[in-house]
Amino acid sequence: MKTYLWLVIILFVPVMANSQSVANTVHNLSVSGPGTIKATNENEICIFCHTSHNSNPQSPLWNRSDPGSYYTLYDNAVSSSFQATAGQPDGSSAMCLSCHDGTIALGKVLSRPEEISFGGGITTMPINKHNLKTDLSDDHPISFIYDPALAGKDGQLRAMPAFPTKLDRNSKVQCTSCHNPHKNNFTNFLASSNQSSALCITCHDRTNWQTSSHQTSTATWNGTGKNPWLHIDEPYANVSQNACENCHSTHNAKGKARLMKSQQEENNCLDCHNGNVANTNLEADFVKTYTHGVYNYNGLHDPNEAAIPSAKHVECADCHNSHSANATNASAPYANGFISGVKGVDQNGIAINKIQYEYELCYRCHSVNAFTTSSTARKIEQNNVRIEFNTSNPSFHPIAGVGNNNNVPSLISPLTTSSMIYCTDCHASNGTSASGPHGSIYPQILKYKYETIGSPIESYSSYELCYSCHNRNSILNNDSFKEHNKHIRGQNTSCNVCHDPHGISNSQGNNINNSNLINFDTKIVSSDATGNLKFVDTGNNNGYCLIKCHGKTHTQNMSY
């Protein structure tokens, strides 16, 4: 019995002592190794990398040949935001690659005259995710100098890495910055746990990351559809724990630039934002008829692009900063958390790196470069939305400032003439979905139906967009314009025929002819016999039109 106890102790002690040893890891390629790739006869463990005499000049006491300089690098041709100077792998990285690039036999060591033979006829590292091959453009960059100057240029790096991440003697990031080849306590020989990307953030310091939803969300995958974390070796259970790795792959990244897990930009987001991790199903929005067509572009978006992009495109990252986004609510005109930390253009047309107001984001594409044009032919044409919302315009919806019409009896409480609204109050996904304009079954990505074509039969649903703010009864009761009912119900005229919902530029229109968002649809409204095509405002709830509409000429005699 006593002997048995001793046996137990003897058996257990070495196991305990070895729990942190290379001997227990797959880097033990000797016959005693725990992995499947191991030598058939070699007993020594260290020998696959180290020798005590006649080592390769690479330190420390390296027993393998330097693989050479034939690697395809991760450099600023791969990623425009990579600020360091890329060089061929050197230092310890070259040593790691002497196995992990798959070109040199695992058993080819300097101190053995014959190549050490491996089980299963294995010579070089088999093709698997640990074999990085010689194309390193899909792996985290290595062998570049990391110093405060780089951090300054990058703007999103700590001045120097924090423990346990280490630079080598030449201040370079190497494989050993993140990996400890002798200990495998944290998967993949990481130097520390990477839960919540603890290792990544010892270098990477993204503005607002700590409060972003991707850092704080405890959402889990519901098991439906594609596993969004297939690219992670040992994924954690929730978004917060997977952190950077939700979207990025440190090695073998399919989207090479910035090591995105997916080559298709939108899939990096939609793999989770499809109702299976995140609550809202944006995938369903993006297959609707009218979308911000993230599927239609590939490789055009660049995080370093100007606030006013030159080439028309749209990706999730054009409107969302995934390192900063959070669920904070806001009131118009302020940007909410979902679009925090993104570029924009202010009401003066000045490019800004961080928006304050939501409309500034929309102006990136819908102002000076006007990637979309007005859907209605009007007396006054204007495709620059920023100009349409100018607060010195004769009339405008209150996007960039409080409106200038203090007589809007139709407004539904709590809205008043002092209220401001968001672009996304009208332009948003329809149905019960995320608040943003991802996709809608209605043209112009409108949140509700807004009939503009032909002679629509009036109903709440025909103009639900307008009636969401403007009380239908008030409109049809002619509270503001005494002929509203006659036009809308009697003549099946759309709101859109007389009103230009964004606003009318002060350089094109004036307070007399273009108050109350009047700017006629010229497909329906034409000039009268004397060439007039205008509305004349003669005071609150008073005015007349000089136009011809459906064959009927409107004259001053019809003033109200």
Binding site: S30, N43, S52, H53, N54, S59, P60, H182
Partner: protein
């Protein structure tokens, strides 16, 4: 036939066992070398002499002429993770080993037969993996102090009180507190090949000091 082969086997086993424990028959047994023209003491005489030995520090009755070459040591220039500070040149018993293994002194340059390398009969060390040379930068560092301070600085070395070779690292593997060739090698016993002092199966010798 059976009997003969059995006896041969037994003989082989016995001799190999007995050889394993002594210098006889090991690569350090140079008694049969053509250049070894000593009349007596052919086995030990290459390194040792019973009388009138050279005055060499830490050298028991030393006979072989020591090297005057300048060595390049393994320092933190070789490895940024090397925390020790070796002397400018090898010391202690390491110098004795290097009197042959650096290749600058003739193998047969010893008391009674001082034949300098380059002289007609001076025998050079053959170019093999055991020729260490004067550049020690690709060899495990030697002649550095291994103490508690180094253990702390390195973080991956075992304390010198760790059990080793029937004693501790301090008592059995260090010489004047320093690591030398003899920390790992016993020139008189090749039981474990490469004159290692213990088996390096599963890299046990390396892992005696290194926590890896």
């Amino acid at each position: 036939m059976k009997k003969i082969s059995f006896i041969t086997l037994m003989l082989l086993a016995v001799t190999s066992m007995s050889f394993a424990q002594t210098i006889t028959g090991t690569p350090h047994d140079m008694s049969a070398q053509a250049w070894n023209t000593m009349a007596s003491n052919k086995l030990c005489g290459v390194c040792h002499t019973p009388h009138n030995a050279m005055a060499v520090s830490q050298a028991p009755l030393w006979s072989h002429t020591t090297s005057s070459t300048v060595y390049t040591m393994y320092t933190s220039a070789q490895s940024s993770t090397f925390n020790a500070t070796p002397g400018a040149a090898p010391g202690g018993n390491s110098l004795l080993c290097l009197s042959c293994h650096d290749g600058t002194v003739a193998l047969n340059n010893h008391i009674g037969n001082t034949l300098p390398l380059g002289s007609t009969l001076g025998v050079a060390y053959p170019t093999t993996t055991t020729l260490v040379g004067a550049a020690l930068t690709n060899d495990h560092p030697i002649s550095f102090t291994y103490d508690a301070a180094l253990v702390t600085a390195d973080g991956a070395l075992r304390p010198i009180t760790t059990a080793a070779l029937g004693g501790t690292i301090a008592t059995k593997m260090l010489f004047g507190g320093k690591m030398e060739c003899a920390s790992c090698h016993n020139p008189h016993n090749n039981q474990y090949t490469s004159f290692q002092r213990m088996t390096n199966n599963a890299s046990q010798l390396c892992l005696t000091c290194h926590i890896k």
